[in-house]
């Protein structure tokens, strides 16, 4: 009975926590500019994420190690440090983008510009980390995040042509604007396969003291939670394709993105979008701050838990305090969150192999996982998707920087 409750809670939290500024912005841009053509990127990214999440939960349940614990132990400090450097830098950029997303949502609601929101928003995020517990953060933020389901409602009300939508699930070449197309594909992959999500998930499994009996639950949460989450991203893309594209609206700014639900849901569309972004980015900001703190604490072997007083895990608390404080700075100077989002999503793709390749090694380690180690399917799916994302990123990021 308790496990059924945990199961449904797990699925709900992964659905509520799935969308964030990266997935919304990339899907909205893709839909507005290329119609259904880029749906395949969401499909591919979500498929890979399902495997990664299942793997990180399995590692935690069987070996009682988070991914970061295991990377440090198996590959040693020098290698770990480079993984830390790359991953944390990118995650920090994503955190800036999420805080910016909250600020922008507040800007369109109140009219006060987002740089003014940077400090208060960071403070509230920090305060919740300082005072809150793990389950409050995970469950509270994702329950609020369920408002993002309104994208599905909007998509259904626009009566999409399902056959042409389905044809978007297979990759096709664009007629024009090839560099933008591939750059968007890379950003979508980066937004779907966020490594911080796997760190967060495996740390959560340790905080909740998972053991082998959780393996089936883990599998179901990964499969259903991430599938539903991926459907939300697809809904955003479909809404943008049907509401913005026919009117020639591209999503260059957040203000334009805010119009996407007004066609399907005239009365509440605007406010639903603003609230979706507010809650989704808020939840993501909490998760990323936690994930970065976990990364340091586990890697260096400090005491870490979101459920004890800050003075009992001082360095853990110090890391998120510092990180959230720093993240507010670029926003106060008015750095455009949409630009940061697009760049950080593409960079996520480019740096994926850094954390995921060692992770694949760990998942085949008989010492950690015994008979629960990866089969060839998991290895192949993750390996191939990571390779694709990496190659696309390396090719398209320079093109986008030069061309844009």
């Amino acid at each position: 009975m308790k496990k059924i409750l945990q199961l449904s809670l797990g699925i709900i939290t992964s659905v509520g926590g799935f969308l964030e500024i990266g997935s919304v912005t990339t899907a909205a841009q893709a839909g507005a500019q290329f119609g259904y053509k880029l749906l395949w990127a969401i499909l591919l990214g979500t498929l890979c994420l399902i495997f990664l999440i299942e793997m990180s939960g399995r590692l935690a349940a069987v070996s009682k190690h988070t991914i970061v614990d295991a990377i440090r132990e198996r590959f040693g400090f020098p290698f770990f440090f480079f993984v830390l450097l790359g991953t944390v830098l990118v995650a920090f950029m994503v955190l800036v983008a999420e805080l910016g997303g909250i600020g922008f949502a507040l800007q369109i609601l109140t009219g006060i510009r987002f740089p003014w929101w940077a400090l208060p928003v960071s403070f509230v995020v920090w305060l919740l980390m300082w005072k809150g517990t793990f389950s409050l953060i995970e469950n509270g933020a994702s329950l609020l995040g369920l408002v993002t389901v309104s994208f599905v409602v909007a998509a259904l009300r626009l009566n999409p042509d399902w056959t042409s939508a389905a044809s978007g699930l297979l990759p096709t070449l664009p007629d024009d604007d090839k560099s933008k197309y591939w750059f968007l594909a890379v950003s979508i992959l980066g937004a779907s396969i966020s490594p911080y999500l796997t760190f967060f998930y495996s740390s959560g499994a340790i905080e909740d003291k998972w053991d082998r009996t959780y393996l089936p639950i883990n599998r179901v949460i990964a499969a259903f939670g991430m599938t539903f989450g991926g459907l939300l991203s697809m809904a955003v893309l479909i809404v943008a394709a049907l509401a913005l594209r026919p009117k020639g609206i591209q999503v260059e700014t957040f203000q334009q993105a805010a119009l996407m639900m007004t066609t399907a849901l005239p009365k509440w569309g605007f406010y639903l979008f603003a609230l979706s972004m507010l809650f989704a980015c808020f939840g993501a900001a909490l998760e990323i701050s936690l994930a970065i703190s976990y990364f340091f604490s586990q890697g260096f072997g400090w005491n870490w838990s979101e459920d004890v007083e800050p003075s009992s895990d001082a360095r853990f608390a110090f890391v998120y305090t510092l990180i959230i404080g720093f993240a507010a700075v670029p926003l106060m100077f008015g750095v455009d969150p949409i630009k940061i989002t697009m760049m950080s999503m593409a960079l996520t793709s480019a740096t994926l192999p850094l954390a995921i390749v060692p992770f694949l090694f760990l998942m085949n380690d008989p010492i950690y996982l015994g008979k629960h180690r990866n089969g060839w399917i998991s290895n192949t799916v993750v390996g191939v998707v990571i390779l694709i994302s990496f190659v696309l990123a390396v090719v398209s990021i320079p093109l986008e920087i030069m061309g844009g």
Binding site: I108, G248, Q256, L259, M402, G403
Partner: protein, 133 residues
């Protein structure tokens, strides 16, 4: 190493500023946003401040991109016609922002109608540029 340098040079050469067609798309995107937004405001479903700010933003963007475009207007279209259409829609956008502040819905409605005409004119120009490429 040589190959790498060669590739970089190719990349740098192939990098070019946005084409006139892309600039027209951007302009139409902002005009389109303003129209959707205007309709929303008339139905009282978007807040005043956001509407006004976004209309002002559209106006600024239109002026900026328009000025860039007019520096080297494409030969296939009449540049005075383009200038006229851009100026008219710019004026309408600015006017709409003012009317939101004054909460003058009937007046806003009228200007919105004219903006939709501007959109058609701009769309025709854009199609001409695109077909000539």
């Amino acid at each position: 190493m040589k190959r790498l340098l060669f590739a970089t040079v190719i990349l740098l050469v192939s990098c070019k500023p946005p084409t006139p067609a892309e600039q027209m798309d951007a302009i139409l995107s902002w005009v389109g946003s303003a129209i959707v937004l205007g309709n929303g405001w008339l139905r009282h479903t978007t807040p005043d401040t956001y509407t006004r700010q976004t209309l002002t933003l559209s106006h600024d963007q239109l002026r900026q991109i328009g000025a860039e475009l007019l520096k080297s207007p494409p030969a296939t279209i009449d540049s005075t016609e383009l200038d006229g259409a851009l100026t008219r829609s710019g004026t309408h956008l600015a006017r709409m922002a003012q009317l939101v502040e004054a909460r003058n819905s009937p007046g806003f409605n009228q200007v919105l109608d004219s903006l939709e005409l501007d959109q058609k004119a701009l769309k025709q120009l854009s199609d001409k540029i695109e077909s000539s490429q």
